[in-house]
Symmetry: C2
Subunit: 423 residues, 2 copies
Amino acid sequence: MRFDKMTKAELSDALKSEQARYDELKGRGLKLNMSRGIPSLEQLALSKEFFHNVDFENAFAEDGTDCRNYGVPFGLPELRKLFAGIMGADADNVIIGGNSSLNLMFDMISQAMLLGFGGEPWLKQGKIKFLCPAPGYDRHFKVCETLGIEMITVPMTVHGPDMDTVERLVASDDMIKGMWCVPKYSNPQGYIYSDETVKRLASMKTAAADFRIFWDNAYVVHSLYGDDHLASIIDECAAAGNPDRPIVFASTSKIVYAGAGVSAVASSADNMKLIKARITTQTIGPDKINELRHMRMFKTEAELKAHMEKHAAILRPKFEAVIDVFERELGGTGLAEWTNPRGGYFISVDTLDGCASETVAMCKEAGVVFTPAGATYPYGKDPWDKNIRIAPTSPSVDELKLAMELFCIALKIVSAKKIIENA
Amino acid sequence: MRFDKMTKAELSDALKSEQARYDELKGRGLKLNMSRGIPSLEQLALSKEFFHNVDFENAFAEDGTDCRNYGVPFGLPELRKLFAGIMGADADNVIIGGNSSLNLMFDMISQAMLLGFGGEPWLKQGKIKFLCPAPGYDRHFKVCETLGIEMITVPMTVHGPDMDTVERLVASDDMIKGMWCVPKYSNPQGYIYSDETVKRLASMKTAAADFRIFWDNAYVVHSLYGDDHLASIIDECAAAGNPDRPIVFASTSKIVYAGAGVSAVASSADNMKLIKARITTQTIGPDKINELRHMRMFKTEAELKAHMEKHAAILRPKFEAVIDVFERELGGTGLAEWTNPRGGYFISVDTLDGCASETVAMCKEAGVVFTPAGATYPYGKDPWDKNIRIAPTSPSVDELKLAMELFCIALKIVSAKKIIENA
């Protein structure tokens, strides 16, 4: 029953019964951290060969390169080729980075601040601004905050960022130099940018000639129900005459081992000329032994995708368990909306206005830590205090059911109180 | 015999006989690249267990941390402790980085440009300058060049940078914000900074309050004849009331595998507060599995140093072979001076003025590539065209003897011609 249609007595009854359920759960002494998108132990066990598949005697790349010594600053050709396929790029325009794609993003942006992207250094041009589709990824926003970049929130829709707003903003303000995008299974909603969105991003007129899209394709192969289509931002930008607009990122942290994978960046030939010159100053070269571990596990894109099917088999029941609890506990209440992703690492929930922080706080009090409310918005501030990111990958299905039950109960208590207050 | 005391006929004879030797060597079709400091295959074979010593089932740190998953952004406590011992720092003030200490240095400086070191961002303060003791390390100079930092060359002495010059410069110019140092077995000379040099660096008055010393202790444990003393810059700066002055770097690229090791940065508690905040924005965390490989190989500083003895046993005959050829071929000629390092990766040679480029070019023509002349100076320009860096670690002793013979012959030919020209 919709809570906003309840009488005061009905609300009071609901509150009482949910409070009793909450107290019971709290009494159990739960202890679970669901704040971040962390692979489960079962997923980690999929890549055991990663520890064994390169040896002192066979540490050579396809072209004979000795991966135990210096050299090959842009990564092994065969790994660049593999990433090129996944990222929709030319292998010459792919560079393999260290273990963290966030690090690559931070570096691309801080180097743009210092050295520019074709034009003057951004820092010398004035107060730099980025468009931040939100709810979005807190670590993207933190990069902007640390580097002193002003963030402009853009609403997210099921098809990607609200393009009318995006087009209007970038056309009118030449200090808007960048935009964050997680185009496939967006963090936290799991939305996939539509072809129209990608085309509009590629072809829109920007006041800044050195405007760049930071295309974090973190979940490009992280599908739950078979692969889903995403248009190639590199192809669309090239077709629209804006080849230098996109800078595309990917990583294997959630393919092999979190923090022990490799990252990659891809872009146009001209951007790559700049990026390669900077990277060869910044580092002598990547960890080629670790690159080789990847190539031994995934010789082809097909093998990589078959591996991702195994991840999906583990993750599907978890995502579905969350949705089941939401439907059972919150269906028809009018208290929340949630996404139902076909991939990625998160589910996004919108509560009634002003209910997110308190819901998360009540869950924490009962032993279950969710991503802090507000984290999905620039500066950690959700203007409506309504969005919460659910990270279902790490707990077991049973833990997850209990945690989400607690979440729904807390949400009902907080919402009922709010409705009574506002009545 | 000293070439500058020879008669024209004697010089002409010498030239003729060296030219014959050169032609003979050239005819052999040598092919050897000695341009960079690269570990030899024999050295690589010292660390075979690195490929095997961590397994899926035992990928846990001392405190139980699961190294296969996210977390621990500053590195495993036990590895920070190991580096702390080597670097003369407090373990709380050590952070483990990726596979490249150059990357850490680049990041520290570019972040200082963007965000400052306590004071205003360097970029906002005007044209930043660095003191560059030279001959020095080309990749350090390239970082400055890329980031638009003006380099001021400071002469090197056997005790370290010429401190009278250093003190005079830093006292008078508040745009001098940094200084590069390779304090132990300097690149390329192999000099060790004296206690007096370290003390003067620590206590000197600087016009800039946010002046920093970038202390690249790349060869801290890379001794050839047992450990040599170097005063602790961290302790000396703290004692002199300038605790935030030094930022210290080290790496394991030349301990385990080149490009597959780990790096570390150490500094004062206050600097570390800044650095930690920046690093947690820049990356989610380091490759802990690789950190664990290190800890399994080197449980203690003593074990690490015992491992370095094995490197030394391989490298000593190579360094000595170079020195032998120099003494035999160039001793008493007055044509060159060379260093005789007790550690590190390089030997430095000074020719007569104007002879370095041609010597290197003649060697290249005969199939042996040395570090380009000029590389050891800011902007790749040696004002006297006299310094050449010798990298003896990678070739076999026999290859090395031949290569150095060629080098000395070429040097004699170039020098004799120069003397005749100038007569």
